[in-house]
Symmetry: C2
Subunit: 367 residues, 2 copies
């Protein structure tokens, strides 16, 4: 690992593989386990960097595919790189664009070299390769950058998944060769779909590459919850314990608790901000629709145990009014609360691991 | 005037009728002249109360008509009144609903008693009278409440405007009789359309009622700018100098400067937030469309002389990117800037009046 990065496990659960650690980056520490908010287009939707800091956010994500299309990485670099451009001085990660190309783009053509697709913005032909993805991410300048991977949809045949997993490995080797900036840590991504033997092969092969961090990709793509749990339980322990482990695209209480018990450290998910824009609050792991009539005259805060800006200052009745009126402030307040809530969940687990109380205090989320 | 309210003129311009004063309310002082942001539905669109405070906002507006329809004044009262419900502890004003009924409602029927119309929410028949408007405003609990007035559209015949102006006066008498809360100041509204003799009659009649404050209504409804200036120049000086004067719905640099020179103290307008949602910044009185190609790689702040949160932390290029991507954060940042900009303009005029430099420093806006 580069001198700019390190991972240290501070405590380990006596009954599971859960661990509490610190991942050091050039922009500061990330206390793990921890949920990372998603800021697709160089902003976490509806919240300012100040508001984001107040949620307890440490590391956040941004999106290579979307930023390449708009505004383009050169404009971000012209603004001093992603941190300065968007006003976030903490740790940051960019995904590689692989997932988005495979899930969002139409008319894509995959070859050994890379992927060709039409920009949904202007119809322009775009060719994305492992080298190009790393080049864009080097230009954007996040602390952690992700290898360019092929992420097959669910369901997919064993043959298709095997081919994608093998190609992802070859692409990873090209990413490693091309990557130049020592102030950016390149994480490899384990694919393998729901085929556990493929996951095992992929994880073991990646582990030998001694990367600064590892991700489990290709989950939360439509597979049943039990299969995701199987994938994580099988894969995570095979990844080097002295490196951070990141489960991509995951963010419910139960999924995170189970993954943490398997040794995962980092999570990201769009649900706190997406649900907010649908008028939904996450309260103690439950989903509440604020348009529900019962909230019209409910003057309690969303969650009395939460100290976020929304809970400290506003009532359910007020947020319900804003959401009914389609006032953007309602989505902002719900985003602040939902992000705080998911980070708080991972912070509480961290404290429990440090005190070896994880399985006792979080039993309801581990079954 | 109730013991909870007072207006004091601290300085007067030697060449115009402009004055710098302080309007005291139960929720604190308003330093005049001053622009008041509009928070129609118990929130200033896209900004939190904290962000609003940072713009220099002192007094803000909310809307009787809209709040009566959603969430209803009883729900606001149940939440502790408008201040507590929306988390704004500074001075607040509610309009009477008159303007909205006449400009927004279809199928309205006007009688001496009041106005009947269908709710655009659910088609329910609503009857709004002077008494009902005051009752709703008493229930909402803003510091300043407005008389229920008839606001004819432009153009309108002299006969129609005369009838509306006379009825507005009779309705004002009913508002005064019905209003009970001494912690709320009832302002009368001068109507009269573009007919200066009607304006003079109305202003003189209202001045005799010794109200805690006076507004000039029925401008910015489509009349040419020269006519608005004539109306303000004719009407404002007839209103009692020891009371605050409020020009409703006005908010461009030129309109405010001319009105201040005529002795007006308070302004409100939706343009800073509405323009923000169209991707438009107000910079030194100019309108800038942030989607314009020239801003794509412009890394300067919107306005280098502005210390608002948006200008202190972000570039034109970044805000342009957000606006092009239709990211809500772009509208939030532009709203913060635009509100700051208009308040700053009135604050600068206030300082100039205090130093008797108003006509010299603001000559470009007074011609």
């Amino acid at each position: 690992m580069s001198h700019n990065f390190s991972f240290q496990s501070l405590a380990e659960c006596s009954q599971t593989k859960a661990r509490a650690g610190v991942f050091m980056t050039p922009h500061g520490p990330v206390e793990t386990p921890r949920f990372m908010p998603v800021g697709t287009l160089a902003n976490v939707k509806t919240v300012t960097p100040d508001q984001l800091s107040s949620t307890g956010a440490q590391m956040i994500l941004s999106n290579t595919y979307h930023l390449h299309l708009q505004p383009g990485e050169k404009i971000v670099a012209g603004g001093g790189g992603l941190h300065k451009f968007m006003g976030w001085n903490g740790p940051m990660l960019t995904d590689s664009g692989g997932f988005q190309v495979f899930s969002l783009s139409e008319m894509r053509k995959i070859s050994e070299d890379g992927v060709t697709f039409r920009s949904p913005h202007d119809g322009q032909i775009i060719h994305l390769t492992p080298e190009r993805s790393i080049e864009i991410q080097n230009t954007l300048g996040a602390d952690v950058i992700m290898a360019f991977d092929e992420c097959p949809p669910y369901p997919a045949t064993r043959e298709d998944v095997q081919a994608a997993t093998d190609r992802t490995y070859r692409w990873l080797e090209r990413c490693i060769s091309f990557h130049q900036r020592s102030d950016q840590a390149l994480f490899g991504i384990v694919q393998g779909g729901v085929y556990l033997d493929l996951r095992i092969q992929a994880a073991e092969a990646l582990a030998e590459l001694d990367l600064p961090g590892y991700a489990i990709g290709g989950v939360s793509v439509g597979e049943p919850p039990e299969l995701m749990a199987d994938i994580v339980r099988t894969t995570a322990p095979l990844l080097p314990p002295e490196k951070p482990r990141y489960l991509m695209g995951v963010g419910t209480y139960r999924e995170m608790a189970i993954a943490i018990a398997s040794g995962v450290d980092l999570f990201d998910c769009v649900i706190p901000t997406r649900w907010a824009r649908h008028g939904t609050a996450i309260v103690q792991g439950e989903r509440w629709n604020l348009k529900n009539a019962k909230f019209r005259e409910d003057y309690a805060p969303l969650d009395e145990t939460c100290s976020c800006y929304a809970c400290a200052n506003f009532s359910r009745a007020y947020i319900s009014h804003l959401v009914r009126s389609q006032e953007i402030l309602g989505y902002t307040l719900l985003s602040i609360h939902n992000i705080t809530e998911l980070i708080r969940f991972t912070q509480k687990i961290r404290q429990a691991i440090l005190g070896d109380r994880f399985t006792r205090e979080f039993a309801q989320w581990l079954n």
